[in-house]
């Protein structure tokens, strides 16, 4: 998955200590469950949802968010889900997969075979989701996930096992690139910085495809190791490429900050700088200060998005309620985690009471699902089980102090945007 962005990739030593404890016992998300028996299976009026998350390790923080979002969904619906026209109590079993693929596979096997869960939701991270999917597939079941957006999920699990609620990473750049391509004077030269990891290459490929579509030249392409420290050499490379209209950096926050600093230090002034995976974390703004002006980022979800569902009149309201409960504003990971049980709920509402969780009918229902309004935006899946979404919206930081406003796509835009951006 992509979320090196929000979380520094610092392997936690606590993972080693805690892993054993958490892995051993199920961790039920706190929901008051009126008179549920130990047995699961749906017939007794309980919907048993199973999941694993990398609760310890580098994705510790983001897993926390995902888990809170599962909990938030449960609270929102009073711990109940309507399945086949009948309200049932929701029971969660969530294990810690430590971001370890074989552990994720093992735990998924346990969820399906031993715990006999009715539904499986995906974990967070490309490799772990793929490993999970292999087990789900072995059992002929289906699952909904948003923790892996790589095209590999479509290739290996799409169309039969996985339904992916997250857009393809190749489309992340689309909002920003379409926005920039429509500016005058039209940008002609782009410098591309790609982190050396399949997911980032996929994003980079998306940028190149968009450039081809819009007639923009990719004049230089720098591939950086994931543990890159110094971005000055990259800035120098970009300067060597002549006056650039756009610099597109696929990297996460700190990579974007460092690149912006170094470009500014040695006087590389592109007309637009896109931090492909730059987040709206306040730290970014504090660190970059006035250099934030005019920087563009792609984002798959923000509370400002004009989304709504049956419980929340706006994404903003969702965000505020979430913040009131957990003390922080929900990130896009919170939104896409919330949507996983939500999708099941919508798909199963009118399921066959005789066999509501039948994999085959569930697969058909998910394929046919067409939700106009959810907190995550419109949800429907293509033939590879991928959510239909061809562009991530783009934000641009403007004003002083800089605030992120949506500039693309046109129907969501809050502002016309700035191009060229002011010099650093």
């Amino acid at each position: 998955m992509l979320d090196r962005a929000a979380i520094p990739r610092r392997p936690s030593r606590r993972a080693v200590l805690k892993g054993g404890v958490l892995g051993a016992g199920a961790l039920a998300v706190g929901v008051a469950l009126p008179r549920i028996a130990g047995a699961a299976g749906g017939a007794d009026g309980v919907v048993h949802i199973g999941a694993s998350l990398p609760l310890t390790g580098p994705y510790e923080k983001v897993s926390r968010i995902c888990k809170d979002a599962f909990d938030f969904w449960t609270r929102t619906y009073d711990g109940k889900m309507v399945v086949a026209g009948r309200e049932r109590a929701v029971k969660w079993t969530i294990y810690d997969d430590e971001n370890n693929a074989s552990r994720a596979a093992q735990l998924t096997e346990k969820l399906i075979s031993d715990d006999k869960v009715d539904l499986v939701v995906g974990t967070y991270g490309t490799d772990t989701v793929l490993a999970q999917g292999a087990i789900v597939r072995k059992h002929g079941r289906v699952f909904v996930q948003a923790g892996a957006s790589s095209i590999r999920v479509d290739e290996e699990l799409g169309g039969h096992t996985a339904f992916t609620a997250n857009g393809r990473v190749g489309t992340y750049c689309a909002g920003a690139m379409d926005f920039l391509a429509s500016r005058t004077p039209k940008p002609k030269k782009l410098g591309l910085v790609i982190m050396d990891d399949p997911v980032y290459h996929e994003i980079g490929q998306g940028v190149k495809d968009k450039c081809k579509q819009h007639g923009i030249d990719v004049v230089t392409e720098v591939v950086l190791p994931m543990n890159v420290q110094d971005l000055r050499p990259t800035a120098l490379k970009l300067r060597g490429a002549g006056q650039l209209d756009i610099v597109y950096n696929t990297g996460w926050d700190v990579i974007c900050i460092k690149l912006a600093e170094e470009m500014s230090a040695i006087g590389v002034n592109p007309k637009a700088f896109v931090g492909g995976h730059l987040t709206t974390s306040p730290v970014v703004k504090e660190t970059l200060g006035s250099k934030m002006q005019g920087i563009i980022g792609s984002t798959v979800w923000l509370p400002q998005f004009k989304y709504r569902d049956d419980k929340y009149a706006s994404a903003q309201e969702f965000a505020e309620k979430f913040k009131a409960t957990y003390g922080y504003l929900p990130t896009y990971q919170a939104a896409f985690s919330y949507i996983l049980p939500y999708i099941y709920q919508q798909a199963l509402r009118e399921a066959d009471p005789q066999d509501p969780f039948n994999p085959k009918t569930l697969r058909d229902r998910l394929s046919r699902l067409d939700l106009k309004d959810t907190i995550w935006g419109p949800v429907s899946f293509d033939e590879r089980g991928r959510i239909r979404r061809d562009a991530a919206p783009a934000v641009q930081w403007t004003g002083d102090p800089a605030a992120a406003v949506i500039v693309a796509p046109a129907d969501m835009a809050e502002s016309a945007g700035v191009y060229p951006k002011p010099a650093w």
């Binding site: 110094d230 990259t234 460092k258």
Partner: protein, 288 residues
């Protein structure tokens, strides 16, 4: 080519600054201090904290950050290393690794795991042209501070009583003690000096690039590379090693970014095989 050289040298100043203390501690106390990078990061974050939280002017925040880090170094020495440095070297290695972890975790608790940076308004022009290379003014300031502080360290070690004591303990622990030198106190002072210069490196670096607790290990590794190239036990070696390493890593990241770490470590191996004493080392890097 020219710009790669210039930028590499500019970076090298900070690497040298960070490596002085690492080299000193390895030479005098005889330990590979895995917590060294944590000290660099601590110095950067402390400086940033003093400047942002209390509005301390940068020069004062930098000195505060450096001295605070020196103090942390001395405390680490007194509470932990002093009790184990005579043991199995591996145990000390593990111990300093543990200290690095603790310092990092505590830093994360106190300051959070986010990257932080200190932006300065120096009033300097953004930079000037050196031939065809644009040299940012502040980079040059940092470089100058590196050189000056290297000179200060040189004088401290070469000319002062304190410096003589440190060198005496490095050369021969027993003789030094029998000349009336308090070994434990001298080691604490060594760690203080080491921490101060590490903190200074962090204090300078935090104005150029974001710093966060999790970055500590790359500073330790870089310091290690610098003294492997420059030579153990020589401050001049650390300076030259820093500059060479600066150019080397910049060049590698410029010409072959994806394999840059492999290139720098390759050079390390070459040095270990063909010139274990480094460019300017006093002797082979083996413990007496």
């Amino acid at each position: 080519m020219e710009d790669v050289l210039v930028y590499g040298l500019l970076r090298g100043g900070i690497y040298a600054l960070a490596a002085f203390g690492f080299s000193l501690v390895l030479g005098v106390i005889g330990i590979v201090n895995f917590a060294h990078g944590a000290l660099v990061v601590f110095g950067g974050l402390l400086t940033q904290y003093l400047a942002v939280k209390f509005g301390v002017p940068y020069a004062a925040a930098m000195i505060g950050g450096a001295l605070g880090t020196g103090l942390l170094g001395a405390v680490i020495q007194r509470l932990f290393v002093a009790r184990t440095f005579t043991l199995e070297p591996l145990m000390v290695l593990v111990q300093t690794f543990g200290i690095a972890t603790v310092v990092t975790e505590l830093g994360t608790l106190g300051w959070g795991s986010e990257e932080r940076m200190l932006r300065l308004k120096t009033g300097l022009p953004p930079g000037f042209m050196l031939g065809d290379t644009f040299v940012p003014s502040f980079d040059l300031v940092v470089f100058a501070v590196s050189l000056v502080s290297a000179a200060v360290l040189f004088v401290v070690l070469g000319r002062t009583e304190f410096g003589r004591a440190i060198r005496a303990c490095r050369d021969n622990r027993e003789s030094a003690q029998l000349s009336g030198i308090n070994l434990g106190r001298t080691f604490e002072k060594t760690m203080f000096l080491s921490g101060t210069w590490a903190g200074l490196a962090g204090a300078m670096f935090v104005t150029l690039s974001p710093v966060a607790p999790y970055m500590h290990f790359s500073w330790t590794v870089d310091s290690f590379l610098v003294i492997t190239i420059g030579g153990l036990g020589s401050m001049l070696g650390a300076l030259v090693g820093g500059l060479v390493f600066g150019v080397l890593s910049f060049g590698a990241s410029f010409y072959a970014p994806t394999i840059a770490p492999a290139i720098t470590f390759g050079v390390l191996l070459v040095f270990l095989v063909f010139r274990p004493q480094g460019l300017l080392g006093a002797g082979p890097a083996i413990r007496k």
